[in-house]
Symmetry: none
Amino acid sequence: MPAKNLKNEKLSSSALRRQREREHRYQTILAAAEKLFATEGYHKSSMEQIADASEVSVGMVYFYFKNKEDLIIQLMDEMGYALRSTLGTAFKKYGANMEGFKQAGYAFFEDFCVNYPEKCAIIFRESVGKSPGMEQHRKALFEKCTGDVRKALTAVCENQGVTFKGKYSAEVIAVSIMGIYERVAYQYLFWQDASHDIKLIGRDAVDFIIGGVNNLFNDSSCT
Amino acid sequence: MPAKNLKNEKLSSSALRRQREREHRYQTILAAAEKLFATEGYHKSSMEQIADASEVSVGMVYFYFKNKEDLIIQLMDEMGYALRSTLGTAFKKYGANMEGFKQAGYAFFEDFCVNYPEKCAIIFRESVGKSPGMEQHRKALFEKCTGDVRKALTAVCENQGVTFKGKYSAEVIAVSIMGIYERVAYQYLFWQDASHDIKLIGRDAVDFIIGGVNNLFNDSSCT
Amino acid sequence: MPAKNLKNEKLSSSALRRQREREHRYQTILAAAEKLFATEGYHKSSMEQIADASEVSVGMVYFYFKNKEDLIIQLMDEMGYALRSTLGTAFKKYGANMEGFKQAGYAFFEDFCVNYPEKCAIIFRESVGKSPGMEQHRKALFEKCTGDVRKALTAVCENQGVTFKGKYSAEVIAVSIMGIYERVAYQYLFWQDASHDIKLIGRDAVDFIIGGVNNLFNDSSCT
Amino acid sequence: MPAKNLKNEKLSSSALRRQREREHRYQTILAAAEKLFATEGYHKSSMEQIADASEVSVGMVYFYFKNKEDLIIQLMDEMGYALRSTLGTAFKKYGANMEGFKQAGYAFFEDFCVNYPEKCAIIFRESVGKSPGMEQHRKALFEKCTGDVRKALTAVCENQGVTFKGKYSAEVIAVSIMGIYERVAYQYLFWQDASHDIKLIGRDAVDFIIGGVNNLFNDSSCT
DNA sequence: TATGAATGAGAGTTCATTCAT
DNA sequence: TATGAATGAACTCTCATTCAT
């Protein structure tokens, strides 16, 4: 890219424009796919529908994405990034302690779920059990998230001078927390529409998590 | 029926045999579908494959089941029944207290997951986001389960003379518990193969749950 | 049949009963098929539906009828008989003259169409273009009818001392009359529901026919 | 379109060529379907056969036509247009009088039937009683035709200063005429092969019609 | 880059007919 | 006679992917 710029200033600007356009196209297609997958379902959305919705030809979709699976995988990556940012930012703001933990939970329900319901649908519903490749990717994504949570837990532990009871404890907690996030979101976003009470629900869920975490510390000194 | 029996013993027995054979065929097809769905995935398993695996013709599959969706729905119902039995039996054995809760959790991980990994795959993976009809069925199934858990929680509350903090608390706890069951099973059954340590993992998960529940009682007097 | 009777009087009576039952079954199945074909259409009605509607097993339907096509062919034959009776009886009652012709036409619209709308549906709609065998049968049926009409026309001619203009005339008239019967019935029975005005409509159609017939006599001396 | 032409002559021409090719494919498929439906029957002709006969893939047939029913419906529309043109042109050539009527009849038998026997087969045989949707379409088509005939009749009436006897008369005549066309064509095209004498047959049929029409005028002074 | 017509394998489903009981 | 479970070929339709232009 920089090489091209050096050669020719004029070409560079048009190249830049093209680059911008390309990026824009890419995002447009991805957004159309996200919406369709979330509302119609992965299998019910055809590549033609995605092309139509993004106002490009079918061929263009294949120019930007290897295949249909690639589309949802990119979506998952984007979504994983967004989720980890949301949680990480909230956690770090309050330091590595139980308060940070709480805030991360609140952020999940009150920010992430509310602002990106489609992304939730992709990761919690549309990418489940579709193909080995997707399952692999989903696994990797969840492992990153549980890894984050686990690291956070460890940090809190060190700060508070406590340890976990068993060798699996930290990981199991992390996995459990993700499970709570997932199912509570699924229940109240997709099945009931309790968007209005999501704050209340989130608080309860987070309290539950805090209690659960404390219970697996060797020394149960609550927050 | 009794009339028929009186008239002709032999006819009755042949009718009975047919009935048995029919039941047997039904179960054979269902078992074949369960295995295929769990190993190959719902969409990848064709009706022909299911017919082949159950050693009947395609037409016979349609004789016993309305369509492909009906197959997985029957599977879900069966599985829902098995799950609720497992949890309910364990809970009732120890009375409506936290110990009953623990035992139900242990039963899930140590009995249900271990004995019916295919059923877990159906309910936690293969039936997710497949069609509106299936989603409806899945919702109903989960609602029954969370309803059970909720009732159990309420019973424990009354026994211990405590109440829950908020109006959603009981439901959110129930949903969270199901979320933990689901994700922990998914993680350690489908993604890692930690069958050997499932007991240890289950103990941690249940401890987490117990802590979480206690934390949502108005009076946090732990077990 | 008589042979059986001679052998054993008692067996004969039971044989007779069986004969009656058989005839009854046959008619029951035929009636069920007629109704289903007329309301649901030939292809949409399955042998199972027919069996259900006649309260016998599928096997029994095949015992009485060679196959599905045989069912509709029997229906066509029955219907052909009924139609020819209706027309023939009306014609003969008034002698071989134009009045007889008129009455036959009235009988078609006011008796046949009104009393056997299902039979009309079979012969004018459900048996059209289904298979070579059925087409052959339909052709034979129509030929009998046009033959009847032709004979009637010839008789009238002789009575009135007139002849037809061309060599085809008599046949073309007969075919035309059948065409009018068919399409007028189709239009006002299946497409519009003008059952209430069928008498009026029939009168017009018959007047049209009379005029047409007269116009093909060499000497146009009207009735 | 003009904008595109100005920019690039070549692009325009290639776009035009594509347009032409598309139209050509469409017509090729339609023609193949017409032939197959007419010779083999609608139900006996599979989409694969149609695709093979038009030398395209099955997918292409579905690209140009919504489904199998759509194919025959397009065929019916085309055919309806052709029929009405034939009749209308002949009628108008001779003015709104009985001569025009005669000529329209001759045109049906001598032009339409002779030149488009497949189209006759579609409309008079293959589209009968196939499905509710098709029946609806057939009804609409026939209603247009009878409507045309009725209008013609009314015009002739006004020109000759006569009226019809009853309120239904005009419509019944129109329907009867269509019935004669239909059945005479069916009889001598599909059942007998009397193509050679079609002129003679047509003359008789038309004479019959003329006589019938006259007979429903209030004052029967006509040719 | 960009198009969109073309492919064709593969899916789910139906149903006339048979035959062991 | 009577049953109705069993067969399996045949059908319509979908859609991810490719490629000539």
